[in-house]
Chain length 326, copies 2
């Protein structure tokens, strides 16, 4: 392998896909985020987090009001969570729940910033979502986040049948869900009925064809260098990034619940998504992959009003409907 | 859309994925095919076809001998076909058949050159495959090829239950299968139990994100310009490329049989594959998408000994097993 040559890909012009919705086209036309210096102090990170989180929290709260979604702050065995209830619950789904684990490179989307995706899931599935406000760096590094997710899962199981609960999240959230499944296996704990793994950040070792092919193409992440590398460092500390609880793609995925995976042609993590899909399939798990034209990493959360984003949520809801039990 | 800017993607170095098999790595290390002048006369095309077809025919015949596969030339209502029988037929699959439609940009793989994929399918599914040697340019242009496929399908239905037959093919073959399904719908003819659509060349209009993103990346096709453009012209003649019988992605796919679709991260037709997947899903068709790390267009046929290629065929066989009936 070391002796095999890399491919030099020449520069190219990539038009905006003509077949996607005007809403997504507008999103695709946004500039690639520039490479910026990352904070070097805890205070610097906290300032950056506060600023970013405020934007998303405001959006989520405004959206909730518009859609008649109720948000309650709850405590589950010491972990703050948000119960997100849509206006109407589908008949038969009164005792169902979507356990939501937010993304944000293990650093962002604390507090109410997390609940945008939980709202989309709750709306599409017409049942409640419970979003975990897990601890993050700089104050709390690995394994604080997966500890919190596992704590909430265990707490929830006191009142729910595991087969009436699904788990879902995007990017780091999907990675944390996979880590939690590995820990459920280790501890012999029941797993949920099904998983939504949106473009999972399940490999922190900078491995994957699309990390190179879609560098400077993915308009949400831009490139692996910078934010992803630095946030990974901050989260993992001195732990080996190949540790399966950090990079769950390297764990044994046999026995995982059925999973739906979502990516896009411009997603920096397209390879990670399809590699997780293959690992699940090779372990005999029912697993569905959906790749959306022109979408960058997690675009369905950014351009959440685009028909394609609604289509993602519709597929997720249909998938869950195949697996959760009353 | 016309006012939205295209993306200028800078040059990059793309390493060979570390997570794929040595066999596939070797394949990925092969150089991108250079842009060459296409023939300008019928004789020129025929010479090119003859040369290419001979290479693949020899490979297929040698492979058949090695694997103990029997190849019979048969005539189905005037169309030459090859019946490809594996050494052993799985119990219960004695009356099953895989109708195989070969790829090759509507120009290549005439004669025995076509049967390599049919052999892989027959081996994986442990049942017979019937591969159609449909007519091609320069002598026979559209709609000769889909006419032949439909003729064979109708001929086969005299002796088979449609639900005991599946159809499969790659690239132009997958496109022709989709065209045939549209014609079955038009004529009210039964459709097969399931489809394998390998990286379907289902859109001849040069539409799709990956046509740009994976230009000079796909080591089988290289780029859309040149061979694909010229062969499409030769095949379609003066017909509108948006005609749904030429570009079946623009047809109404409702009522299609369940389909499994395969592509790769370096596939020039990744977008076409995922767009067809989405159109099938939006029409309510069970449809599974598989994207393989590092694979270019149809790599599972070129690097057919790689574990990943075997994995493709295993997924196809598992998918068919869900749908065909005794």
């Amino acid at each position: 392998m070391e002796n095999l040559p890399s491919l030099t890909v020449p520069t190219r012009e990539v038009p905006i896909p003509s077949t996607v919705s005007p809403e997504l086209q507008k999103q695709i036309a946004a500039p690639i985020p520039p490479m910026v210096a990352m904070p070097t102090t805890a205070e610097g990170w906290k300032a950056l987090q506060k600023e970013a989180n405020q934007v998303y929290a405001n959006m989520a709260i405004a959206g909730a009001q518009q859609l008649g979604i109720t948000i309650e702050t709850i405590d589950l065995d010491g972990v703050t969570c948000y119960r997100v209830s849509p206006k109407s619950i589908a008949p038969g789904k009164e005792n169902h729940a979507i356990l939501h684990v937010h993304g944000g490179a293990f650093l962002f989307n604390a507090g109410m910033a997390a609940i945008g995706e939980a709202m989309l899931l709750a709306q599409a599935c017409q049942t409640q979502a419970i979003s975990i406000d897990y601890r993050m760096p700089p104050d709390y590094t690995f394994p604080a986040a997966p500890d919190d997710v596992l704590t909430v899962w265990k707490a929830l199981m006191k009142n729910y049948d595991p087969k009436s609960v699904v788990m879902g999240g995007t990017s780091a959230g999907a990675g944390l869900i996979m880590t939690t499944m590995l820990r459920c296996k280790q501890e012999g704990i029941a797993m949920p009925a099904a998983l939504f793994l949106g473009t999972p950040f399940a490999d922190l070792t900078k491995t994957g064809d699309s990390l190179y092919l879609n560098a400077e193409v993915d308009r949400f992440l831009g490139r692996y260098e910078g934010r992803l590398v630095e946030s990974t460092k901050l989260y993992a500390g001195s732990h080996d990034l190949h540790d399966e609880l950090l990079s769950p793609i390297y764990g044994d995925l046999s026995g995982f619940p059925p999973a739906i995976l979502v990516s896009g042609t411009r997603d920096l993590l397209l390879s990670t998504t399809s590699r997780v899909h293959r690992k699940l399939r090779d372990a005999g798990i029912p697993a569905d992959l959906h790749v959306y034209e022109g979408m960058s990493h997690g675009d369905y959360l950014v351009a959440f009003l685009a028909p394609e984003a609604q289509n993602v949520m519709k597929e997720v809801a249909l998938f869950f409907d195949r697996y959760w039990q009353p």
